[in-house]
């Protein structure tokens, strides 16, 4: 019995040690700064703008995609393509359909073919 408990404990420690290693994003030296309007965000239409830079310089001519997820399981994500409104600033309008915590996942395809990803929290979206 003691051996069984020790085995279980070792297994748990092993799993705990190796779990949580999932990498959600990869940006390299690319910096992304999101902005959501209205602020604080409410249910309904929102405008999301992400400022994408490398070494302080805006990255122009990229393709940006936004993916919005609620933090609760059972919700479908919202996908939207952003357009460049100013050099390095990518913007899209979309709907936040429910109050609560949301997650914004940004994918930027650079003109040179490389990609950068980053996720952000949009916490506490309130009812309209």
């Amino acid at each position: 019995m003691i051996r069984l408990c020790l085995l279980c404990l070792c297994l748990c420690l092993f799993v705990a040690g190796f779990s949580g290693c999932y990498l959600a994003f990869l940006t390299g030296d690319v910096v992304m700064e999101p902005e959501v309007q209205p602020h604080p965000p409410r249910v309904g239409e929102v405008t999301i703008t992400v400022h994408v830079t490398r070494s302080g310089k805006p990255i122009t001519g990229a393709q940006a995609k936004f993916e919005l997820n609620m933090t609760h399981a059972g919700m479908t994500p919202v996908f939207v393509d952003a357009r460049e409104v100013e050099p390095g600033r990518y913007r899209a309008n979309t709907q936040l359909t429910m109050a609560g915590d949301w997650s914004l996942f940004v994918t930027v395809a650079m003109p040179d073919g490389t990609k950068a990803y980053q996720s952000f929290d949009i916490k506490g979206v309130s009812s309209a």
Partner: protein, 464 residues
Amino acid sequence: MRVPLIGRLLKQRHARTLLQIPLFIISAAMIVHGLFGPQLAPKNLATTLTWVHFRGALVLVLLFAGNFFCLACPFMLVRNFVRKFVRPVRNWPRRLRNKWVSIGLFVGMLFVYEWLDLWASPWWTAWLIITYFAAALVIDSIFKHATFCKFVCPIGQFNFVAATASPLEVAVRDHDVCTRCATKDCIRGVREPAAPLVVIQRGCELALFQPRKTGNLDCNFCLDCVQACPHDNVGILSRVPATELTVDPIRSGIGFLSKRKDFAALTIVFTFGALLNAFGMVSPVYALEQWLANAFGIRFELPLLAFIFVLFLIIEPVLLIGIAAWLTRVWGKSVKPLLSIAVRYAYSLAPLGFGIWLAHFSFHFLTGFYTFIPVTQLAAGVLGEPRWGVAGLAPNVVQVFEFGFITLGLLGSLLVSYAIAAAEEMRPMRVFIVWGVLALIVAAGAFWLMSQPMEMRAVALGSG
């Protein structure tokens, strides 16, 4: 058991194992994905299957059939396997042979769900599943019989109370056959004829002797008794839901329900816990937490959450049930002591509590039904591009079902309280009015909650 195919399957000795294996495989996949997969709840098998599909399917199966999820419980598959090598020798301590430990764990489970935002955390959800497996394994490796199911498992206790409103139960077909039966294999197990100490088919591990068993309380549908009965006299039979709550015979493995304060407390926690759990997913809970934070100058969620739990699970039920019990004595002219009244009529809340759980869980289940498809595609990695567009029914459509389930539960509670009052009171109509009003108050709370805008978020306490 006479249903073609299904009946034949359930009569097989390894029927339970056959049902447990798929759930075990799914559980293993959920654990792996929860620990190593994407840590975004809508994209992870652990959170999606646990909080959307498992809970929803569980309550719907309980509503339309019975406690079949306990039958297919994957925790017991592992436990049964380990018991081939480890023979438990101890009995569960006598003072713990009641529901108090499991009530504490049930409340703890509800608390941890809110505190750690389990609905949003694949990692914690995976650890919750691992904890269940480990607890079942350790407890049932030390203690004999189905100790984990009967005295510990919070899901099991939830299922036992909810199954009082199920239309199916494991029961005896003909009591005369049991009277003539000399072996009582349904409880003792089938023994090897040449070696009577060797059990070749278990009897009931939850100490439920079929001829004296009433209803679904404490029955995990393991079907050991069905397979052990040499006369094929035990089966899954239909019945009128919730009638078991209206009668009070001495029950095998339980005794008189009217004397079991622990079962009554479990029913109360089950009912008011349903309100609390639904309250945790709507906007007003955050306003309340913010108000409490400002009023008491507290900036940590833990004490605030504890306060809300005390409010919902202790103060509110004690007040409401206490007043109802007092009115039953004073206005309804009941001669029973206050506590006995409270215990007896607490059971009438079980159908309503079940209706509220149904409303809550079916909302997530029906609105997010198809989400298992893209999440499985993502987890498997070989089933093509995840189809994220699929979800389920529209929330406004599901709200009709939610209100329907609460109404159904309310009707059940009204009928049960009327039946108890009619059978046991001198002024049954007055007593029924008292407990009927209590059920209406709880149902009104549930209707209000279900009509609130849903809001799922972690608590961030500001000063505003």
